[in-house]
Subunit: 414 residues, 2 copies
Amino acid sequence: MTPAGHRIPGRNALVHEARPASSGRALPDTQRGMRRRNLARVMHTVSAEGPLSRAAVASRIGLTRAAVSTLVDELVGAGLLRELGPERPGRAGRGRPGSALAVSDRGPAGIGAEIGVDHLAVCVTDLRGEVRVRVERHVANRGRSPGAVAGELTGLVREAVARSEGEGLRPAGLAVAVPGPVAPDGRTVVHAPNLGWRDADLGPLLPGDLPLVVDNEAHFGGLAELWLGTDTPRTFLHVSAGTGIGAAVVVDGHLLRGARGLAGELGHVPVRPDGPACGCGGRGCLEQYAGERAVLRAAGGEPDAREGLLAERAAAGDRAVRRALEGAGEALGIALTGAVNLFDPEAVVLGGALAALAPWLLPSLRKELDGRTAGRACPVSVSRLGPRGPLLGAAHSVVRALLDDPVGAAGRHA
Amino acid sequence: MTPAGHRIPGRNALVHEARPASSGRALPDTQRGMRRRNLARVMHTVSAEGPLSRAAVASRIGLTRAAVSTLVDELVGAGLLRELGPERPGRAGRGRPGSALAVSDRGPAGIGAEIGVDHLAVCVTDLRGEVRVRVERHVANRGRSPGAVAGELTGLVREAVARSEGEGLRPAGLAVAVPGPVAPDGRTVVHAPNLGWRDADLGPLLPGDLPLVVDNEAHFGGLAELWLGTDTPRTFLHVSAGTGIGAAVVVDGHLLRGARGLAGELGHVPVRPDGPACGCGGRGCLEQYAGERAVLRAAGGEPDAREGLLAERAAAGDRAVRRALEGAGEALGIALTGAVNLFDPEAVVLGGALAALAPWLLPSLRKELDGRTAGRACPVSVSRLGPRGPLLGAAHSVVRALLDDPVGAAGRHA
């Protein structure tokens, strides 16, 4: 489903793709590879700083004006860049007037999708990173088969694609966030305990006409924070919770995935080694203290309550829920002490459903974490993206792959 | 102390130096940078596969024979490569006969040094990675000032340099392993509790005529395993213990250092959150159960006993020590469960003093780790390098830096 030459979305930021320059056996740069990289540099430069004239792009990336013009013509022809006409007078002082370039608001686009325990969601994001179409449906997925869930999601994807085509967009890839770890093939859900799935290959179950990547919602949430967050450092730990608890470990802008795609399983870090048995086979895992069901149980509520209920009850002053969240914050603080000692991140960011619960989690979390890491304390902040993170991160990963390999995108669609 | 242009040893394998190819603002490859990389590729190729003819090197790195000859001439002139004379007849079938190239056994060399609680050690390693000189002294460093220890170490370094010069070697850099985390400046020991040091800048205290890098012995131990171990995977967790417990997290051949150089502090991962207070400010840290002093205490021995005593007593059948080591293995298994869930390494490797204790640690360690990570178990192996790892890793880091930047080495010494 991922044709050769297409850079798989969400796999571009991998540490395990970064090779030292001096590996000895690497082939010399081919002209083709060089042109590809230069097209990507033009796209990223205009994306980050546009609108820009061709001359401004040339000076920023250190190529001649003529070389940049050739690259720009190709990108404009492929519908990835557009010319806005002569620059505004206020900018003319920076160089001689020229036609300003901007990333296109039409053409190739990314589709993000999310399979949650209580919902399905799809969004289409244009090359500028703006969400143009969003489709969402509340649906109880717990215990449903992968085929049934993927079938319903496929319907939503078709609807979103049709609507985006009406706006002149051409979806170029689909990235799907799921609540659990995914194998290195980028398709097979290893284990999604809250759906009841194990080793579920979504590849054959989702639309076959779009390059596909499936990844842990915790990973997409962390990448969203990296790409779309405010003042997010380059080395951080993003902790998210839907029904389970997961984390994304980001080191200098690269997501760590682990040897089998299982990195970031913060929910199964032992907090109290003799604590309650966990579905993972362990005992006293973080999820047994800070997972949504554990907190609901501690607060004397229904373990299967809908998402968002805890934040509502805490905000309404429910003392049992607030006490339960205080305990969850403590357990998070203990598990994060281990993670901070192992990674030494610049910050811990609470995302997903934890963002909404932060007012009641943070005091006890910070007390444990700061008390146990005296002198090497790590700031804890709250994501602005919250539960929207994984869906935005998924769609954005496709857009980043398009910016990273505009040739592939042009080849597929021009 | 590290002149501009010299690649700092041990900093070459950093994840945070690997930038994505498409960062937009990077300058185009300069000729100088290209030549530097090609020199490094020739060095690494001959180092990994030599002796090789010029033609064989050219075919392996995809450059013309003429281009490779120019590079080789420069490397031979700088004393980094040597010509062995015509290839042996048995190899002539692979191409027309030519002078075989090998990495020099003279010329630039790396110095590794180690500051331990009970000893100081220095070794000089040639470009082929062979230890040519080794100087060691047993000395009680606990509570001694950084100046006194560094002064004594400087004497040993001078002695090792003099001896290596007698063998035609020219030490090109000094890497020092210390028992604790080091700041990102690569000179300042943040905290070495078993020496009693805090924020000790070793820069001004060590020889000023050699490029210097100071790093945590746990990091050098892990790098030694990566570079010199047998069948070591590219993504692994190396756990070492001298007096404290540290770890090196290696992800696809890159050591994770963390935002402040504090990554890998496995010894301060909470094992039992209400356990005994630890010197770090936490409670129930791994070091309180599996550190050498904790194990000696649990076995009813002197907490300040010399290194190696535990392995001797366990080997002699001392039941109290064996029981204490079983408890230490349990605590290691719990802490490693957290680390395996967070990193998903291909393997855990026990190194340093833990290697010698493995027979008594492993059964309980594996029982905890495997029991808590059912279905995603991680193999645990024992380093062949053992306590020699950090010293070898330090010296080897200088050699790797020389292979990575032979121009710099040639410029300094030709």
